[in-house]
């Protein structure tokens, strides 16, 4: 008996992570908040720890209009150009 495979087909995809920063002292931070209740407050609290402990600077808060959809490509491109690292996460 022969069965077709029901899973997705197609070419193997190569995914990679951004390289880790060698150090975080003095780096510029971006915050990507997802629009959920308390998300900006929670993420800013975290960013403030980096400011206090590592002399980082908070450059910008980027927002998603839809918490459950991927961030728009232009938002990510803008953040990549403007900050050294981005803090994001679910706030609820």
């Amino acid at each position: 008996m022969q069965l077709y495979d029901p899973t997705a087909s197609g070419a193997e995809r190569t995914l990679s992570r951004a390289g880790a920063l060698a150090a975080i002292e003095g780096k510029t931070i971006g915050i990507l908040e997802n629009g959920k209740l308390n998300a900006p407050e929670m993420l800013r609290e975290i960013a403030d720890l980096f400011v206090a402990r590592h002399g980082c600077t908070i450059h910008a808060v980027y927002s998603k209009s839809n918490a459950s959809a991927p961030a728009p490509a232009e938002t990510l491109a803008q953040a990549a150009a403007e900050v050294d690292f981005l803090i994001t996460g679910l706030g609820d």
């Binding site: 008996m1 495979d5 029901p6 899973t7 997705a8």
Partner: protein, 358 residues
């Protein structure tokens, strides 16, 4: 010829062992599947004009793609007959529209399930149930088209419970959630007509449904009484949001509403106007948010949005109303949107025809 000879599994010629093999591969929803043997998949493909490698939908986060072929394989596994396949294809074309956001609505803790509502003659052509036990078991087309939707989400898009599907509780519709709009005795235009498809063209509407709420009313005799009980269900504190709604009116309720001369638009406006909670009430349960109130009462506010209240949805058009179910019984239902807002907007597509494609 096989579509992709590298993705064929050669197994012993034993049907029960093949069913077990599908379990072992992690290809099922927990229930046994029909092993996707080649000739059954080819028969399914015969109902689609595009080549097997044509892409129907793409996952926005992972870029995994649903091809016609993969859809056919999963349709066979769910138990679909080939003539059901155009409904399944149209459903995923609708879900592929960005505003449906099928990644979020299938990954979220909210646990929604895609509800498919088939409208028009095609539902009768393939023997769908729009009548007694509408949402229940017993009809092959309803059950297997809905089930195939789930199998595709699981097998193709890898929405695996506990890994990429993080539903806190899920809902029973995640096994199968597919109905037909009842045409027999329906006093209103069918959804496919309201959607402006040409005469004779059927449609499927997809909605990320957050569950099922029965609305019982055997005592009401006026549209206001019947729809008042529906509006109360829509405004319960557990699910009132700015999200959309689906209301399936039982024929008994429809006779009261339409018999008094009410149109679909009249009913939508009544439900929007009455499905509401006060700001104080929303605050009392910790669910009030300024941004949501402002969105509903800003410059684009609908004229029926009452100051001081949060209504369900942004306007009457956010409430889909259709008729379905058996003749007897004052049991309608309200199906809330996924989660807390407008993360997914319902979509529709024609079945088996290409109207707005290139």
């Amino acid at each position: 010829m096989p579509f992709d000879s590298h993705r064929i599994h050669d197994i012993p010629d034993d049907l029960l062992a093949a069913i077990d093999y599908c379990y072992e591969q992690g290809w099922t929803d927990g229930l046994p599947v029909i092993p996707p043997v080649l000739d059954r998949v080819h028969a399914m493909l015969a109902y689609e004009g595009r080549p097997p490698e044509a892409v129907i939908a793409t996952h926005p986060a992972t870029t995994l793609q649903l091809t016609v072929h993969a859809a056919a394989v999963n349709a066979v596994m769910a138990g679909c007959l080939p003539e059901y396949f155009p409904v399944l294809v149209a459903a995923f074309e609708a879900m592929d529209k960005p505003d449906f956001n099928f990644h979020g609505s299938t990954a979220s803790t909210g646990g929604s399930a895609p509800l498919l509502i088939v409208s028009g003659g095609y539902a009768d052509d393939i023997g769908m149930n729009a009548d007694v036990n509408l949402f229940g078991p017993g009809n092959r087309a309803n059950a297997t088209i809905g089930r195939a939707t789930r199998l595709i989400l699981r097998n193709v898009f890898q929405m695996i419970p506990g890994i990429s599907d993080k539903s806190t509780q899920g809902n029973p519709g995640k096994y199968s959630f597919c109905i037909a709009e009842r045409a027999r005795g329906n006093p209103w235009p069918l959804l496919c007509q309201e959607q402006d498809y040409p005469e004779g063209v059927s449609s499927v509407t997809v909605f990320a449904g957050g569950g099922f709420c029965n609305v019982e009313n055997h005592g009401g005799n006026t549209p206001e009484q019947i729809l008042g009980s529906v509006a109360d269900a829509m405004a319960n504190y557990g699910c009132i949001t700015l999200g959309q709604s689906v209301v399936i009116l039982a024929p008994e309720h429809m006779r009261i509403v339409a018999g008094a001369g009410w149109s679909r638009k009249d009913a939508q406006e009544f439900l929007f106007a009455h499905a509401k909670r006060s700001i104080e009430g929303m605050k009392s349960v910790g669910k009030y948010r300024d941004v949501e109130y402002d969105k509903q009462h800003g410059p684009d506010a609908h004229s029926l949005a009452q100051p001081g209240y949060i209504h369900r949805g942004l306007g009457p058009d956010d409430i889909l109303i259709a008729m379905g179910g058996g003749d007897a019984g004052g049991h309608s239902c309200f199906i809330p949107s996924w989660s807390r807002g407008r993360g997914s907007i319902m979509q529709h597509k024609p079945i088996g025809v290409c109207i707005d494609c290139n």
